[in-house]
C-alpha cells in the first residue's frame, strides 16, 4: 500500500516535470537555433520542384534554384531598367555578325580558368577528380540536350532557329530507333556520333559560335537563362537514378554562386556558397556579375540599393539560401510575420491590414517592414476567337465594331479594385511597362470606358441595343473559362455584367481546364481570358501572341485568338529581326495602331506585385523576370535574431489555466467515484 502511494507520488511528480519541460521547450522557431547567426536567407517554395534540369525547367518556382546554381554566359544588370544584358561567363556580350543566305552568327568567348562546383560525378574524368574547367563544349552539350527528343525541352522550337538543330534532333532519334545499341551508349558519345549541331561551332576550348538561320536578336536573352548554361556531361551520365544515385533533374551540378547542398523536394532545399564559382576564385577579375553594381535607377538610390558600403563588394553576400515548402499561403504569411521568412507577398485575406491607401499600415511600419511595388512584365487580356463567324474576322466590319464596342464597355480599374485589391496597371496595348516599345503616355481610344460610344458602335454593327436582328433577342455570346470555382466565375461575371449594360447576353461556359484546352484546340469558343508572362524583355515576346504563324488553329501555337492579319504578320516579321531603335519603334507604333482598330484582344491589365521585406534584408530589388538575385541580397542576422526573439515569446498562462480547468472538471468526478466505492 505504501509502495502504491509512493508510485503515485512519483507518477504525479513525473507528469508535473514532463509538463514543465514541455512548456519550457515550447518554441515556434522552425529552424535549428545553430543557424541563427548565419547569413541564411529563408524563402518559401509554394510547391515541390518538378525538375531542376536546366534544359527542361521552365517555371519561376524552379528558377529560384536553377538561376542561382547555373551561371549563364550573359546575365541581366541587377538594377538597371529597362533590363540590360551584361557579360556573365562570357567575356563580352556578342555582336551580331551577318552571314550569307540571310543567316546571322554570334560569337561568345568564355572566360578561361572557370570551374564547375565540386561533385563526385567528375570522377568519371579520372579517379579522385571532383571538378574540371568549364569549356565551350559544355554549352554545346547543353544545346544538344535541348535538341534531344528524349529530354523533352519546352524550348526546342525557339532554339530550332540555330542552324542544323532540328536536323540533329531527327538524326539522333533515327539512330536510336534503328539501333538499340546506340541508345545504350553514353549520352555525350551518342551526341558525337549523331554529328553535333551544324550551327554550334567551337573555336578552341573557349570560343563558341552560334549560327542562326534567320535574324533573331532575342537569342541573346536566351543566353541569360539557365537553358544555355554549361552542363558537364559527367553529371548527366552519373546521376541516372541507379544504385541509389538521384536523377540529374534532382541533383544540379552547375557553376553558379551557389550549389544545392541539401535536396528534399518535399520539405526543403538548401543552397550554400559554391567555392568554385568564378567570382569567388577570381575576385581580381572584377567581372560585372561578381561585384555589387555601382549604377542603377534613381529609385535604387532612394531605397538604399546603391549604398557605398555595398558598391563594388564581391558577391555573393549571403552564406546560403534555404527554401521551405509552404503549400498554403496563410501559414506561410503568418510565419513571415513572425520573422521566420525574410520576405513575402501579401495574402488577399490580410491585404487591408497590411496596406492602407497604397502604403504600409502603421502597425507594419512599426515593425520596420518595407513595402516594394513593381509592375510585372505581363499582360492579362480578354481574347476573341477571330475564326468565329459572329465575333471574328469572317464577320468583317460588323465583327470589328462589335469587338470595339465590347472593349469600350470594360472598366478595368473597377475590376482591379474589386478583385486585385486595386493592384494592376490598366493595359493599353500588349506591351507592358519595362519592355521596349511601352509608352506610358499612350491611351488606346478603345480602352477607355465609354458606354455611349460603345452603344453607337453596337448599333453601327447591326445590333441596336444589343439586339440580334436574326432572333429579335439580345445577342448571345459565349465566354469560355477553364475554371469551375466560384471565385473564378465571379471574376468572369464582372465582365458579363459590363457587357449586359450594352444589352449583350454573354453566357459563361465554365468547364475544367482540360475541357477548356480541348475547346481551344477545336476552335469551339468565342471569348476567353488569358495572360502571358514575359520570357525575356522584348516586345517580340508579347506581339508574337498575335502572329498568324502562331495561331492555335494553324499550328497549335499560343495565338489563341487565331488573329491572322496579313499586315500585322508583315510588320511583326519585320520588327522581330530588328535591334531596338527608331525604325523598330516606328513599326511597333504601326502594330499598336492596327491592334487598336482590329481588337482581337481587350487588353486588361499588367499585374502589380506588392512585396514585403523585413528590416534586416538589404538590397532587394523586385524583378518581374527571374534573375539570379540571391547573390546581391544581404541579411543582418543579429537584427533578425533580436527581433525574432522579441516577436516570438511563448504565452504559457493559457496552458496552466487549461490544466486547472481540467482538474476542476475531473477531480469532483474522481471524488464521487471514490465516495461511491466506499
Amino acid at each position: 500500500m505504501r509502495l502504491h502511494g509512493e508510485a503515485r507520488r512519483l507518477a504525479r511528480s513525473g507528469i508535473a516535470c514532463a509538463l514543465l519541460v514541455a512548456f519550457a521547450a515550447c518554441s515556434n522557431n522552425p529552424y535549428s537555433e545553430s543557424d541563427d547567426d548565419r547569413k541564411i536567407r529563408y524563402k518559401t517554395l509554394p510547391g515541390p520542384t518538378k525538375t531542376l534540369d536546366p534544359a527542361v525547367s521552365y517555371s519561376s518556382l524552379e528558377h529560384q534554384i536553377t538561376a542561382n546554381v547555373y551561371e549563364t554566359l550573359l546575365e541581366y544588370h541587377y538594377l538597371k531598367r529597362p533590363y540590360t544584358l551584361m557579360p556573365g561567363l562570357a567575356v563580352a556580350v556578342p555582336e551580331r555578325q551577318t552571314r550569307e543566305g540571310g543567316r546571322v552568327a554570334y560569337r561568345f568567348d568564355l572566360r578561361e580558368g572557370m570551374l564547375f562546383q565540386n561533385d563526385p560525378s567528375f570522377a568519371l574524368d579520372g579517379e579522385g577528380r571532383t571538378t574540371r574547367t568549364i569549356v565551350a563544349a559544355d554549352v554545346a552539350f547543353e544545346l544538344m540536350r535541348i535538341a534531344d527528343p528524349a529530354v523533352t525541352s519546352p524550348v526546342i522550337a525557339t532554339f530550332a532557329k540555330i542552324e542544323g538543330l532540328r536536323e540533329f534532333s531527327e538524326r539522333l532519334q533515327a539512330l536510336r530507333d534503328e539501333n538499340p545499341e546506340f541508345g545504350a551508349l553514353r549520352i555525350d558519345q551518342q551526341y558525337a556520333r549523331a554529328g553535333g549541331i551544324e550551327g554550334v561551332r567551337l573555336h578552341g576550348d573557349f570560343g563558341l559560335e552560334i549560327v542562326l538561320i534567320e535574324p533573331y536578336p532575342q537569342i541573346l536573352y536566351w543566353f541569360a537563362m539557365p537553358f544555355t548554361t554549361p552542363v558537364p556531361w559527367e553529371a548527366v551520365v552519373y546521376y541516372d537514378g541507379q544504385e541509389g544515385r538521384p536523377f540529374f533533374k534532382d541533383h544540379p551540378v552547375g557553376c553558379g554562386p551557389f550549389e544545392v547542398s541539401e535536396f528534399d523536394k518535399q520539405s526543403k532545399i538548401v543552397m550554400t556558397r559554391n567555392e568554385n564559382w568564378y567570382g569567388a576564385r577570381h575576385p581580381e577579375w572584377k567581372a560585372p556579375g561578381t561585384v555589387y553594381p555601382s549604377e542603377g535607377e534613381e529609385i535604387d538610390r532612394e531605397m538604399g540599393r546603391l549604398d557605398p558600403a555595398y558598391v563594388g563588394r564581391s558577391l555573393p553576400l549571403l552564406d546560403g539560401v534555404e527554401l521551405r515548402l509552404e503549400k498554403e499561403h496563410i501559414p506561410a504569411f503568418n510565419k513571415f510575420l513572425q520573422g521566420y521568412y525574410d520576405a513575402s507577398g501579401i495574402v488577399h485575406e490580410s491585404f487591408d491590414k497590411i496596406v492602407q491607401e497604397g502604403r504600409l499600415s502603421p502597425e507594419m511600419s512599426e515593425r520596420g517592414m518595407k513595402l516594394e511595388k513593381s509592375v510585372d512584365p505581363d499582360i492579362y487580356y480578354i481574347g476573341f476567337n477571330m475564326n468565329d463567324p459572329v465575333i471574328g474576322a469572317p464577320a468583317g466590319a460588323r465583327g470589328r465594331k462589335l469587338r470595339q464596342a465590347m472593349s469600350l464597355a470594360i472598366d478595368v480599374v473597377e475590376f482591379n479594385r474589386v478583385f486585385n485589391n486595386g493592384r494592376g496597371v490598366p493595359a493599353q496595348s500588349p506591351i507592358p511597362p519595362g519592355i521596349y516599345g511601352y509608352d506610358p503616355d499612350y491611351r488606346n481610344p478603345y480602352r477607355q470606358l465609354d458606354l455611349p460610344r460603345a452603344q453607337a458602335l453596337l448599333e453601327a454593327a447591326g445590333y441596336p441595343g444589343g439586339i440580334d436582328p436574326d432572333t429579335g433577342k439580345p445577342l448571345r455570346l459565349s465566354f469560355d473559362l477553364g475554371d469551375t470555382s466560384t471565385a473564378g466565375r465571379l471574376r468572369f461575371q464582372f465582365f458579363v455584367d459590363q457587357w449586359a449594360k450594352l444589352g449583350i447576353d454573354v453566357e459563361i461556359a465554365a468547364t475544367n481546364y482540360n475541357k477548356f484546352r480541348q475547346k481551344v484546340k477545336e476552335g469551339a469558343y468565342q471569348i476567353f481570358m488569358w495572360g502571358w508572362i514575359a520570357d525575356y524583355p522584348d516586345p517580340e515576346n508579347f506581339l508574337f501572341l498575335l502572329w498568324g504563324t502562331m495561331a492555335q488553329a494553324n499550328s497549335g501555337g499560343p495565338n489563341t485568338a487565331n488573329f491572322d492579319d496579313p499586315e500585322f504578320n508583315r510588320l511583326f516579321e519585320e520588327m522581330k529581326g530588328l535591334d531596338n531603335g527608331p525604325e523598330r519603334l516606328a513599326i511597333i507604333r504601326r502594330i499598336r495602331k492596327l491592334l487598336e482598330e482590329e481588337r482581337p484582344w481587350i487588353e486588361l491589365y499588367h499585374h502589380e506585385s506588392y512585396a514585403l521585406y523585413h528590416s534586416w534584408m538589404k538590397n532587394v530589388k523586385p524583378a518581374g523576370l527571374s534573375l539570379p538575385a540571391a547573390k546581391y541580397v544581404d541579411i543582418d542576422p543579429v537584427e533578425r535574431k533580436r527581433l525574432r526573439e522579441e516577436w516570438n515569446k511563448p504565452i504559457l498562462w493559457p496552458a496552466y489555466l487549461g490544466l486547472v480547468l481540467a482538474g476542476l472538471i475531473i477531480i469532483p468526478g474522481v471524488v464521487t467515484f471514490l465516495r461511491e466505492r466506499q
Binding site: 522557431n29 519546352p154 496563410i330 520570357d535 499550328s555
Partner: protein, 321 residues
Amino acid sequence: MLAYIVRRTAYGFVVVLGVLLLLFALFFLYAEPIEMARRAVGEKAPPEVLEQWVVNHGYDKPTWWNAESPADTMLVDHFRSMLTFDFGRSDADDSPILERIRTGMGPSLALTLPIFTFGVLLGVGLSLFVAYFRETYIDRMGVVLCVLGMSLSILLYIIGGQFLIGKTLRWFPISGFDTSPAVVLRFLALPVLVGLVEGLGGSVRFYRTVFIEETGRDYVRTARAKGCGDGRIMARHVLHNAMIPILTRVVVSIPFLFTGSLLLESFFGIPGLGSMMVDAIHGNDFATLRAMVYIGALLFIVAQILTDIAYTLVDPRVRLS
C-alpha cells in the same frame, strides 16, 4: 481458420482485379494524355514537345486492344505495373513512384501513429469515464462536447489551431517539417494535437454508446450482485466484452495510417503520402494517383481480413470457417 484466410485472400484478389479495372476505366478514359503533358512540361511548351512527352510516357499506345500486338496496350501495362508493384515514374516530375511512397510513409506514420495511438487510448479512457458517470453532469457535459467536436469541420481545427497555438500563443511552429531530431517533435506537436482533438469527439461518443450498451447486460448485473466494484466491472468486464466493435473501428482505420492525412499534411506542410496525393490531384499526376488508390484498396482488404482474425482472439465464440 487457414482455409478461411485462403478463401478470403482469394476473394480479395478478385476484388483487387475489379479495383484495377475500375481504376483504369476512371483514369484513362478521363485523362487526356496531351493535357497531362501540358501540366508536366509547362503551359508554354510547343505541341511537338507535348507529343514527345506522350510517347516517352507510353500514353500513345492503344487503350484497350491492339490487334498487332495484344500485350502492347495501356490496359496490359496498367495491370502489369500494378500487380508487380512496379509503379513506374510520376507523370508530374518523372520521379520513381515507389521511392516516393517509401520516403513519404515515414512522415505520414510520424503524424498518424501518435494520433491513432493516443486517439484510441484517450477515446477509450474518456468514454469509459463518461460511461461510468452516465446520467450525471460529467456524462452530459461529455456528450455535449463530443457533439460539438464532431460538428466542426477539420479545417476549422486546423486554421484555429494554427492561429491560436502557432500564431497567438507561439508554442509550436505554425507549419513545416524537418527530419532533424532536434526539431521534428516541434513540428509534429501541433498537427498531432489538432488531429487528436478533431477525432476525439466522434470516438468518445461511439465508444460511450458501446460501453453503455454493455453495462446494461446481465453479466454486469451478476458481477455487481457478486460484489464486484464498478471500476473493476468497467475496466475488466465491460471493456473486454466491447472489444468487437472497438476492434472493427480500430483495425479498419489502420490502412489510413499509411496513406496519411490529406488535409493535415497539406496544411502543416508534412511531406507524407497524404500531401503527395494532394499534389498528384493538383498536378494531373495519374500515375501516382492510381498507385496510391491501388495501395489504399490493398491495405483495406488486408485490414478486413485482419479484423476477422482479431475477432477470434477477443471473442472465443467467434469461429472462422
